[in-house]
């Protein structure tokens, strides 16, 4: 009988980690639905980017208020996880505060966890106020209605509850330590929960045990639930920010990739020795002609799909976007949210049917409209603003490519501009032979 808590704990832990692993595998499988792109170069620079941008939060602090609050929550989250290690060991083996033998160092650890937990609580409350009371504009854009808004708040509530449980657990533990209850070794320093502890003054040992065990269990179960919530939430960024900054685009922001499929065609056209009537080579005859640009998520590359899962909808991109600021429909954040939503839909379709069965939908039109795509000035403000190296611009460009090269669906004025380039080598209808006339005017 005495092992029932241990067994329950192991079951809960296994279930929590198991279900999370299952879903993470889905995320990885979905990301791999994207086309290949080579990001295996410059490993040193990539590690440096990951260390600076994800680990070091260097781009977060460009907005100091949100940046510093975020660092507090981020550091708290990482460091308090050391305590979770102890909780897990205690849970499995039925011990209590297994690391207490560390003595003074243990006191120091627990004290830091408490201070961090308190700072996280304050930070999260301020975040909630920014979203719901101050109502910062970027949290109230049209794409933030419904689930995205609730998701943002739910994460904050989760963190508030977890931090409170952690402090209550320590406060009641402190009382039990002072009562000299069984198992409750005198260990740890409690700079924050010592102020909560008086609330439990006069409670019986039994009630205190109930509070302490209750808080302990709810805290660890809460962590497991939160872990599994990630998959359904924008909050995956706490994990994916690392690979995403590692695999980020290292090219100058102005450099857009040259489509290889197009290069092949162009080189063939320019080759005077090419035989226009040549039959396709044996191995190519069955191959489908390559699609230009992207109309659905599977036409994007895996790095773009990783971007979509990594986006935490902070909206810095949208708040910097010149099109969005001047009232156009385009919102770079929505581009990322739509890509992720569609990718999830495609993934669920595969889960249900074994392989993808046409659902009559695609990213273009069903999620992202041409009006949004054509409003982009390709100014890279969104790319610069993203704290974790996401590029909404690259998706916009790939979708424009589909509109123009597969559907000939450019706005009329752009078609005129392009025929001018084709006919006379300038976007305006001026003769190429007149290019030097300015020197004689």
């Amino acid at each position: 009988m005495q092992y029932i808590p241990n067994i329950l704990f192991i079951i809960a832990l296994a279930a929590g980690i198991g279900y999370f692993t299952k879903n993470i595998r889905k995320v990885i499988r979905n990301i791999r639905l994207g086309k290949d792109v080579d990001r295996s170069d410059n490993k040193a620079e990539r590690f440096k980017n990951m260390a600076m941008i994800a680990l070091g939060q260097s781009k977060m602090v460009r907005r100091p208020v949100a940046g510093i609050l975020h660092i507090v929550v981020y550091l708290g989250f990482i460091i308090i996880n050391l305590e979770v290690l102890e909780i897990i060991i205690d849970g499995i083996f039925g011990t209590h505060r297994i690391f207490a033998f560390l003595g003074g160092f243990y006191d120091f650890l627990i004290a830091s966890f408490e201070i961090l937990a308190f700072l996280v609580l304050v930070g999260v409350i301020l975040f909630w106020i920014r979203r719901n009371v101050i109502k910062l504009k970027r949290f109230w854009n049209p794409e933030m209605k419904g689930w995205p808004k609730n998701d943002g708040n739910l994460i904050l509530y989760f963190e508030m509850v977890l931090m409170t449980l952690f402090l209550v657990m320590n406060a009641s533990d402190l009382q039990l330590q002072e009562l000299g209850a069984d198992h409750y070794v005198k260990a740890g320093a409690y700079p924050i929960s010592q102020f909560i502890s008086p609330l439990f003054n006069g409670m019986s040992e039994g009630s205190l045990l109930l509070v302490e065990r209750g808080a302990w269990w709810l805290h660890i179960l809460g962590i497991l639930v939160f872990l599994n919530y990630l998959y359904f939430s924008k909050h995956l960024h706490i994990l994916l920010a690392f690979p995403n900054t590692y695999y980020g685009d290292l090219k100058p922001k102005g450099e857009f990739d040259n489509l290889d499929a197009v290069t092949k065609e162009v080189m063939l056209m320019m080759d005077p020795d090419a035989d226009p009537f040549a039959a396709p080579a044996e191995d190519q005859s069955e191959a489908e002609p390559e699609k230009f640009g992207a109309s659905d998520v599977v036409d994007l590359n895996w790095a773009q799909l990783l971007n979509a899962y990594t986006c935490t909808e902070c909206g810095r991109c949208t708040s910097e976007c010149p099109a969005n600021q001047t009232g156009k429909k385009l919102s770079p954040r929505k581009i990322m949210m739509d890509t992720r939503d569609r990718l999830k839909e495609v993934g669920d379709n595969i889960d249900k049917n074994g392989s993808f069965v046409d659902d009559g939908k695609q990213l273009l039109n069903d999620y992202i409209t041409p009006e949004e795509l054509w409003a982009c000035t390709s100014c890279n403000a969104c790319v610069e603003a993203c704290p974790i190296s996401i590029s909404p611009l690259s998706i916009i460009m790939d979708m424009r490519r589909y509109l123009v090269m597969e559907q000939s669906a450019a706005p009329t004025e752009l078609n005129n501009m392009m025929s001018n380039i084709e006919n006379n080598g300038a976007p305006w209808p001026f003769n190429q032979m007149d290019r030097l006339n300015w020197s004689k005017e």
């Binding site: 090219k251 100058p252 922001k253 102005g254 450099e255 040259n258 489509l259 197009v262 290069t263 162009v266 056209m269 320019m270 230009f292 910097e320 010149p322 099109a323 600021q325 001047t326 009232g327 156009k328 429909k329 009006e371 054509w374 409003a375 000035t377 390709s378 100014c379 890279n380 403000a381 790319v383 610069e384 460009m397 979708m399 424009r400 490519r401 589909y402 509109l403 123009v404 090269m405 450019a410 004025e413 752009l414 005129n416 501009m417 392009m418 380039i421 084709e422 080598g425 300038a426 976007p427 305006w428 001026f430 190429q432 007149d434 290019r435 030097l436 300015w438 020197s439 004689k440 005017e441």
Partner: protein, 263 residues
């Protein structure tokens, strides 16, 4: 305004069996747009003044393909690129300078993988190097003490991290350089990039160039300095729509330097 400036072409150099130190890539705006032609001329005057041995492609130059690529027409872009690269490689060009950040970005970043590998400089970078080498004199002249704000072109700034060259030149003019609240990597677009120059904007509540002009006007400038013919057009239109064109000029960095010396 009718004055002929000597502008040698690559073909002429070739005929004499010579090679210039740098190719001046004029660009479509610089060749055909009435406002941008003035920038082209100012830059050429500076090149002559600094005794730079340069040439242009003239009628052998064609659009780099930037607006086609940004519209999504990769095919047309690569056709343009491959044709231009063929011409430039035939002339064995090593170094290119251009007064258009869009040409600059495309030539510098998107031509190499198609076979066109050149050292490419924006004209503000090139002028800065001439200044550093002591070949070009930049003096305040009539702009001394004027309030000037510089609008960062997206394709020079964020796209290629060039922020200081134009500012260094402006400081040399002994002007009062005032930054807009959004500048350098946070600079707001003028609204012309991504082929927007060639189409009407999507429905919204404001034009981007007006938003940007308001940023500039907040600095109470005498002059708005630009480094891109398209930004120049957008900011000029913005200033006009604010009815400030009598008090505020929009000038390219090259024009400022040339005008300061009455070239």
């Amino acid at each position: 305004m009718s004055e002929t400036i000597k502008v040698p072409t690559m073909a002429e150099y070739m005929a004499e069996g010579k090679k210039p130190e740098v190719l001046f890539w004029v660009g479509c705006a610089g060749s055909f747009d009435d406002r941008a032609k003035k920038i082209t001329k100012a830059f050429v005057k500076l090149l002559h003044n600094a005794n730079v041995d340069f040439a242009v492609l003239g009628s052998e130059e064609s659009c780099t393909g930037d607006p086609a690529k940004r519209s999504g027409n990769e095919f047309l872009f690569q056709m343009q690129a491959v044709t231009n690269i063929e011409v430039m490689n035939a002339y064995e060009i090593k170094k290119v300078v251009t007064a258009c950040p869009h040409c600059f970005n495309t030539l510098k970043n998107e031509y190499p993988s198609l076979g066109g590998d050149y050292e490419v400089m924006h004209h503000t970078q090139f002028l800065k190097s001439l200044l550093d080498e002591g070949r070009l004199k930049v003096e305040g002249g009539k702009f001394k003490g004027k309030r000037i704000t510089f609008h960062d072109p997206c394709y020079l700034g964020r796209a290629n991290n060039v922020y200081e060259a134009p500012r260094d030149l402006l400081r040399k003019l002994e002007v009062e350089l005032i930054e807009m609240k959004r500048c350098k990597r946070n600079g707001l677009c003028c609204g012309a990039g991504g082929a927007q120059m060639f189409k009407e904007p999507e429905p919204g509540n404001k034009d981007v160039n007006i938003e940007r002009t308001e940023d500039a006007l907040e600095t109470k400038p005498d002059i708005i300095a630009a480094g891109c013919p398209f930004c120049n057009t957008m900011m000029t239109d913005g200033v006009k729509s604010k009815e400030k064109e009598d008090n505020i000029e929009v000038l390219d960095v090259a024009e400022l330097i040339a005008n300061a010396q009455d070239l």
